[in-house]
């Protein structure tokens, strides 16, 4: 049995320690906001936070997540009110939406570490998240808006 802490709740799982975290999130726990994209850590659709880091859950074994805190898009904020989520809605960022959970989870790590990211900082942080619809310009704009809103809230 493996115990995982996901979105502040403990889950006891009878699963192979080598199972990718993404499988457990989606198939065992039913948190389907995180998406399967490439399966080889190339696209970023499956990004979740593991002790605050933007890991690719498709290649992260659950044995690595044991004893750590996992946060998925469902647990990013109490009521979908993270500055990034608000900015995403404000600017209608999503097109098909498939990659957007991963995009937001990566952007959240960026804003936590860098309250006022430059254009280059955003490019560097988001380079691993691919959007087939090509919403990159709106993603960037939303990150800038969220950064601005966060700083003006204080």
């Amino acid at each position: 049995m493996i115990t995982l802490n996901i979105n502040k709740k403990n889950y006891k799982l009878d699963a192979d320690p080598n199972t990718p975290l993404l499988w457990v999130l989606r198939d065992n726990i039913g948190l389907v906001g995180t998406k399967y994209g490439c399966g080889v850590a190339q696209c970023g659709a499956c990004v979740v936070h593991l002790d605050g880091e933007a890991v690719r859950s498709c290649v992260t074994k659950i044995s690595r997540a044991q004893g750590k805190k996992v946060v998925t898009i469902e647990g990013l904020s109490a009521s979908n009110n993270h500055p990034l989520q608000k900015a995403w809605l404000e600017l209608d960022v999503s097109q098909c939406g498939y990659c957007q959970a991963g995009q937001i989870m990566s952007a959240a790590v960026l804003l936590r570490e860098n309250k006022s990211p430059t254009s280059q900082d955003i490019d560097d942080a988001m380079a691993g998240n691919i959007c087939r619809c090509g919403t990159y310009l709106r993603i960037k704009e939303a990150i800038q808006l969220a950064a601005k809103e966060s700083s003006s809230d204080k």
Partner: protein, 214 residues
Amino acid sequence: MKQFYNKRPSSALRTFFVLGSLFLFVGIMAFGSNLSIDKQSAINVKTNVVKDSVASVNAFKKVYAVLMSPRCMNCHPAGDVPLQGDDSHPHAMLPKRGLDGKGVSAMKCSNCHQPTNTPGPNTPPGNPNWHLPPADMKMVFEGRSPYQLAKQLVDPKQNGHKDMKKLIEHADDDLVLAGWNMGEGRAHPPLSHAEFKKAWITWLTTGAYAPQEK
């Protein structure tokens, strides 16, 4: 017949001495060789340096071939983006080195590179300590000539403040060893790790001579 009998003991005796000497020589060589390896691993390696420019330069040729192979050079790039693949192209997604060599914000090495290799082709190779050299000590291999690399490797200001002992120990560093276990579909360095280590130690303990610039 008498002569024959007289000769036989003498011939047998000679054979005994020859074989005995041979075994003794082999024994001494083996013991000496072990001693030599032990000394090379010992703390004060400087005392074991026996300068031999020819042996040193020859050993460095082997060292250079390994260090410039994709398995080593890909994480010692000239720029701030690691290289990738057997053709050493820029790493997909262009992850940046960051100050500590472990990436930046949402693009940290360990976000994709797990503690162990991920199974299957085209998956991220793994190591618990995956990183590039830090920004203040980039230890660039890419583009370095044999002369430049040899000089750089023994300069503490450019090699991560390593002295002779630490340089020798570095041959067995986990991340160096990972070069020979990079997961499915990736070519190995041109020498085995044992051959590399032998050449590395030979180069260092014969004076760490740099090949001349051509």
